[in-house]
Symmetry: C2
Subunit: 351 residues, 2 copies
Amino acid sequence: MEFKIGVLAGDGIGPEIVEQAIKVMDAVATKFGHQFNYTKALVGAIAIDETGNPYPDETHQVCLDSDAVLFGAIGDPKYDNNPAAKVRPEQGLLGMRQKLGLYANIRPVATFPSLIDKSPLKRDIVQDVDLVVIRELTGGIYFGARGRSEDLTSAFDTCVYTVEEVERILKLAYSYAGKRSKRVTVVDKANVLSSSRLWREVAQRVEKEYTDIETDYMLVDNAAMQLIQWPKKFDVMVTENMFGDILSDEASVITGSMGLLPSASVGRETSVFEPIHGSYPQAAGKDIANPLATVLSAAMLLESLDLLEEAQAVRDVVNKSLNEGVVTEDISGEGKAYKTSEVGAWLAENI
Amino acid sequence: MEFKIGVLAGDGIGPEIVEQAIKVMDAVATKFGHQFNYTKALVGAIAIDETGNPYPDETHQVCLDSDAVLFGAIGDPKYDNNPAAKVRPEQGLLGMRQKLGLYANIRPVATFPSLIDKSPLKRDIVQDVDLVVIRELTGGIYFGARGRSEDLTSAFDTCVYTVEEVERILKLAYSYAGKRSKRVTVVDKANVLSSSRLWREVAQRVEKEYTDIETDYMLVDNAAMQLIQWPKKFDVMVTENMFGDILSDEASVITGSMGLLPSASVGRETSVFEPIHGSYPQAAGKDIANPLATVLSAAMLLESLDLLEEAQAVRDVVNKSLNEGVVTEDISGEGKAYKTSEVGAWLAENI
Ligand SMILES: CC(C)[C@H](C(=O)O)[C@@H](O)C(=O)O
Ligand SMILES: CC(C)[C@H](C(=O)O)[C@@H](O)C(=O)O
């Protein structure tokens, strides 16, 4: 089969890690008899530099025309700690989410046995952790009205949710849980927030449609604790945008495999697949960055195209590289540290 | 000297743990020649049961008339998962914070060497952790306008901050840092929220007044990660209400000494001192709850009355009880489990 893939490499290590994922996808294409037609487009700081816009219209068109989008990372130190900068790379990300209607961010977090010692948590706490954080991505306080009072002495942000938005993301969460361990944890702050009470009401209705799935309600402060204390008890955690930003990042460090975590942002027309780590500017161009999170993002991408066997082949070869120690310096420990490009080539050969 | 102490024991284990703290305070009074005059008042579910109001006016008056308030815990399972309940214990807490102007919640988190194995984190990560989370407590999304659309299909909450509110809490944070390791981490989400950009602007101005203190800015998602990865790097973390709710709870589990963590809520007229753990209804009346967090809250209370030597005496006797294993079942491990009341009596005797 033939597929159109948008490729938005972005900033920092983005280009070099995306390149490895493409090597792997091409090996998959050869082995399984597909063809992936890639179209590159600009996003992030590099897009600002070249067009003045962190998410140019041409890039948006490329995404719309693609069956799926592979994304690297965005962010450049020259925009950090400069709250005055008028245009910022993050705006590109938020613009993309809104324009493509990327309403759900999906982050699987599973322990890799060979990396367990990299976790800040004790082995018995993180062994066998296997959870997914599903974050609502186009609503809430990220996209509500905001501003300053006229005299500039106060500022406000608004968190808004509609029943439809909540229903849509909850249904996605339940459908994920149905294919997994059949447990959904709905995280909110219903004892304080009106929007959270809406979430909880909708959830209490939606859960009745999924009788085979167990539903738990948890306040966000409690969830922030339990994620560290008993990460194993979670299967699918679903929550609103801001809480999801915090909890998904918190979840990403517990297993010690940060450099391996992929994500999918599911949209109306197309979906975007990207590693959860950032643009890591200090490593850019050095051929040392870990490409595995991007390669595993490509596996999620293949899955979204219903290429399940192909996705599994990618996961298998990643596991093989871990077992055989063909990995970059961040996880090589005492063993040899391979280059980014070497890991990519090895994965492609071993597919 | 003579002091008026308001005593709001609240729900669940509240009464029995507060009783132990009072035993210890009375021992302090005897030893150092002070007199504490206690006035009890209702708060929480028990206040709803008896008066229909979780924070009755008489209770408020008691707080206003006190030099300091000792607080137990609130919350009763009969109000959980009942979003329809018109009056809830939490409203008492929020009402109290607002009416007393308790603008800062202060939570020290330090590792107790004898409890380090209870931490979900590895020993080398939590050893020597010593940080304070300072949470803004009367502003932000907790107290902004909120509600439902007329057709009930959407709900909103508003996060508002004024320059004054931000300045006040930052100054408190800097004054804490001045007495500690001289590092302040300001946590916000300035790449998205308008209120966070206000925070950051104010902080960038305030930090100039404290040239001996190092200031760091951190996005809340990043802070949620770093708290677990490198908790030792933090000294004073200061943040807005909602982020503080999440991060202070997250911080509270990293050292494994949850049952020992005190807090202070600093107000205009008076301050309130309470353990950070909840009302633990399953244990209520069983004489098994750990009183140490409440006793250490009493130490913070003494400090607020400028009774520094007295506060230290309380901390010393708590350390002694830990070293000698005179502790409740939650932390007794292989050793003998003492009753709540026995621990309190032992502490009072050994002051
Ligand atoms: C860069 C920032 C706007 C973004 C967010 O908060 O959503 C990032 O933290 C993320 O999680 O993708
Ligand atoms: C009970 C609840 C309203 C409260 C809060 O969110 O402030 C609690 O979680 C706390 O941290 O004291």
